[in-house]
Symmetry: C2
Subunit: 125 residues, 2 copies
């Protein structure tokens, strides 16, 4: 990130930097971050992912997985079965997000009060 | 985050954890992350923020700032002027996001190729 310039008026390209823009083009969409967070723990079948993310629709999950695959964060693997199932896992680029997700999680623990919507404490890993 | 359970089928509340859910309820919306990233550098007037984030509309910026204020990350301060202007800055909770944003930025630098949409290199801070 750019250094503090201590001046509200300096005009030389005071735009948000390219890395942040790229991060939030991807993660500034509903569900994307949660999908990566679930896959950080382990690979998952499509149905597992739906179950792990309350409220996500099949269509949304499918669209987000496609975007994540296009960005090179997720790979799709077909399990010949039977039953034929599609599994998803993170690529090395996806796995490399773990430290950032941990920082975000730590931050939320300290600074975003729980609205009681998460997983009940006794079930947490 | 929960530990790897090494088992696709374990069912005991395999839901994404509460912290991640809270983070992405807020940041899984277009623009929110970029607004915080800009304010991490310094406080800014509304017009500065619009200029810093190419493509954001007045309405979107206003809505997102309201959400960030409600979440306790941003405060709004009226500069009596003239001209009367409204400035925004991060609270301590907002400032505490900096390590997470830095991790995300580092990650993007290494793993999200630039599409050439960011600030031209010669202007970066």
């Amino acid at each position: 990130m750019a250094k503090d310039r201590g001046d509200h008026n300096e005009q030389a390209c005071k735009q948000v930097d390219g890395e942040m823009t790229r991060v939030f083009e991807l993660f500034g969409k509903r569900w994307t971050g949660l999908i990566v967070a679930v896959l950080t723990e382990q690979g998952a079948y499509f149905a597992d992912l739906r179950r792990a993310i309350p409220g996500i629709s099949e269509r949304m999950l499918s669209d987000r997985l496609t975007e994540l695959a296009t960005a090179g964060l997720v790979v799709r693997e077909v399990d010949a079965g039977p039953p034929l199932r599609v599994a998803y896992r993170l690529t090395d680029a996806g796995k490399a997000m773990e430290p950032a997700l941990k920082e975000l999680s730590r931050w939320a623990e300290n600074h975003l009060p729980s609205g009681g919507k998460g997983c009940p404490e006794q079930f947490r890993g």
